[in-house]
Amino acid sequence: MPAESMTTSERSYLQEGGRFKGVFSWIFTTDHKRIGILYLASIFTFFSIGVIIGLLMRLNLIEPGRFISERTYNSLFTVHGVIQIFLFIIPGIPASFGNFFLPIHLGARDVAFPRLNIFSWWLYISGGALVILSIFLPGGAPDTGWTFYAPYSIRTTSNVSLAASGIFIVGFSSILTGLNFVTTIHRLRAPGMTWFRMPLFIWSLYATAWTQILATPVLAITLLLLILERSFGIGFFEPLKGGDPIMFEHLFWMYSHPAVYIMILPAMGVVSEIFPVFSRKNIFGYKAVAFSSLGIAFFGYLVWGHHMFTSGMSDISRVIFSLITFLVAVPSGVKVFNWIATMYKGSVRVDSPLLFCLAFIFLFSIAGLTGLIIGTLSLNLYLHGTYFIVGHFHYTMFGGAGFGFFAGLHYWFPKMFGRMFNERAAKIAWLIMFIGFNILYFSMFLLGLQGMPRRYFQYLPQFRMNHILSTVGSWILAAGLLIMFGNLIRALFRGEKAPANPWGGSTLEWTLPSPPGRENFRETPVVRGGPYTFE
């Protein structure tokens, strides 16, 4: 047990703040682990705000107008969407767990550009602050939906420009993090860490990082054009001035579809780590899982038009986008099959991280299959712009990426904080969340099939039942979230000390003490085999 004995002799990264003291030892740190924790805390904060707004929307929808006005509702779904997408789920796993574990997984001491790394967090937090500011400044919170479709986004007097500037800045944080990761993976792998010995989490971050670098500039340009148009009336998108609103949609989705893969790929990476450890078995089809990440990232660029099947775009382009959309579903399916096959002949222990992965597979399968439904051209004419879409993307981003995030949170919590959480409470929270989630969002599929449009403050009587059901689900889910976070926050202060390797993992982070020391490895490790070797 060499790892165990190190704990006593070495100060952990939590104690070793570097040049500064207190808060400053965090916000001026260049330690990738501390930066990971900074992101984790900020992401948790934004997520909580987003969830509270979500609950308020659901509250309105049991009795429209009773608690919340029309104008407020329109801002609520806009701000909810902006926060959950740009401040929670896109930075989500890469910025928190990625920052913390990418160098360790590679056997490195830090990322390639540590200062750029903390600068990225500053950008992120300033952008986030602008978004929050846009809610409170006079002019009113943005009310366009998170998609900012023109020309409404040009004409509204609400604080759209401010929120867009915030997202613009957050976008740069994302690009820089991507750059940092790609460089680190290329340059800082420990001796013997060949490409095919890298943990699959790293493969997924690698594919994600390229998407962040290549796609995010498109968003930046789109938002810049929008801000210029709002400020100077230039006329890129405003038809009264010869602009084209459909061009805005193309530009917006050219980023925002690949962004869906920025959200989901890292979660897939987390799941690929957890299945082998809890089955005590090598991953089934390592190369298939690794290459499918790259495949998804690449084909993900070519399908943005499936958000525009009813936009007035030409029929032939609709057909082509539909075809590619169907094909991009296949690599995700391949991953699911490989994860499941990993358990075959394994020795499976169902602890909380694995439970979250199982929920991930189930919810993400529903997301993917409903994705096929709305990718079908004729069905899209029926379901686009309805609650079916709202159900679908919550299954993808929350059921998929969100539950993947929670899986990683439970898996790595002992390593990051050196404490164990209460496993029983974690399982109870999981069950409540799983049930609440499905009630909340499955009823949205039913609403969509009934024809209920999204972004509606009020609705006709035939939709009432399912709306009430959905709201009740939101309360159950919220209760589960409270238990989960309560359990983890309690563990931060009261949890038992975590051993170096509580789950019996075989990647490099588990050779370090919990929590790891400032420099990660005393001596650069030499890698002699694949990432998932169990005796």
Partner: protein, 299 residues
């Protein structure tokens, strides 16, 4: 299924839906049950050890090729039905759909205008969609059709109504404050009844009401006392209201002058509790008189 199948396209869409949902449910059930089976079968027990299996090329190929075939089947089903839904027959009646914040207006070839889409049963109809301001989307769930209304561009939809009755029209592209109130109805009538209505003497109707409709006033105001984005017109004349004039509150009684000023300069007096969103809508003095006259008598 969940809602009436009231047009030709509804049949195609629902048939495609059944096939694709069928495949999807089978896949989901398969994945979930294999997953659960493996968890129980290979549960960690004392004395048992995992057997290392690295993967299998044959399996990888199988579970890549089968999904590819399945999704291609789905694609073809969707594409076929899409073609049918999009190709309008030559002989067809066309109706203009004019969307604006936050109302629909339907214009017929003989100049007739209506806030409800009236169509004859069993006759194909083509809609030419356009918008006067921002994006909207024309959606009739019972017909399973939808298309955006884009300012500066014309888009289209067509359908053959196959069930008599009245069906909801929704706007499904977010368009600002009153988006969720941007509703209307398709009324499918027997052909004879439709013809009578189409040619009918009521075609002109009340000039004031016709203007409220054409100018889009009824997108936000109602004539039956219900509340939309703005105050209702019902009983407006002589009503006592509190308005905010350049930041100050005052109480006034609605008269002809007030009504006219509200149309010509909507920002001047804002009725307390309502958002200041009314646009300046161009009207001629003669039109304004007709509107005022109509409102004065709307009890």
């Amino acid at each position: 299924m969940f809602i009436p199948e009231a047009s030709n396209s509804a049949r195609y869409v629902d048939a495609a839906f059944l096939v694709i949902v069928g495949i999807s449910v089978a896949l989901l059930a398969g994945v979930t049950s294999v997953m659960l089976f493996l968890i129980f079968r290979y549960k960690r027990r004392r004395g048992t050890k995992a057997e290392q299996v690295e993967g299998g090329t044959a399996l990888e190929i199988i579970w890549t090729v089968i999904p590819v075939v399945l999704v291609l089947v789905m694609f073809v089903i969707g594409e076929r039905s899409f073609r049918l839904i999009r190709s309008a027959p030559r002989e067809i009646m066309t109706i203009r759909v004019d969307a604006r914040q936050w109302s629909w207006m339907f214009g017929y070839d003989n100049g007739r205008q209506s806030d409800q889409l009236r169509v004859p049963l069993g006759k194909p109809v083509k809609l030419r969609l356009s918008s006067r301001d921002v994006l909207h989307s024309f959606y009739v769930p019972a017909f399973r059709i939808k298309e955006d209304c884009v300012p500066g561009m014309e888009t289209y939809l067509w359908f053959t109504p196959q069930q008599q009755g009245s069906f909801d029209i929704f706007c499904t592209e977010y368009c600002g404050l009153g988006h969720s109130g941007m509703l209307a109805k398709v009324v499918v009538m027997p052909e004879k009844e439709f013809d009578e209505w189409y040619a009918g003497a009521g075609a002109k109707g009340n000039r004031g009401l016709q203007l409220l409709l054409e100018k889009g006033c009824l997108g936000c105001h109602t004539t039956d006392g219900t509340l939309k984005v703005g105050p209702t017109f019902k009983g407006i004349y002589g009503r006592t209201v509190t308005v905010v004039t350049s930041g100050k509150e005052r109480t006034i009684t609605v008269d002809g002058d007030y009504l006219k000023r509200s149309v010509l300069d909507p920002g001047a007096d804002i009725v307390k509790g309502f958002p200041p969103v009314m646009p300046k809508i161009p009207v001629t003095p003669e039109e304004l008189d007709a509107i005022e006259d109509y409102l004065e008598h709307l009890r």
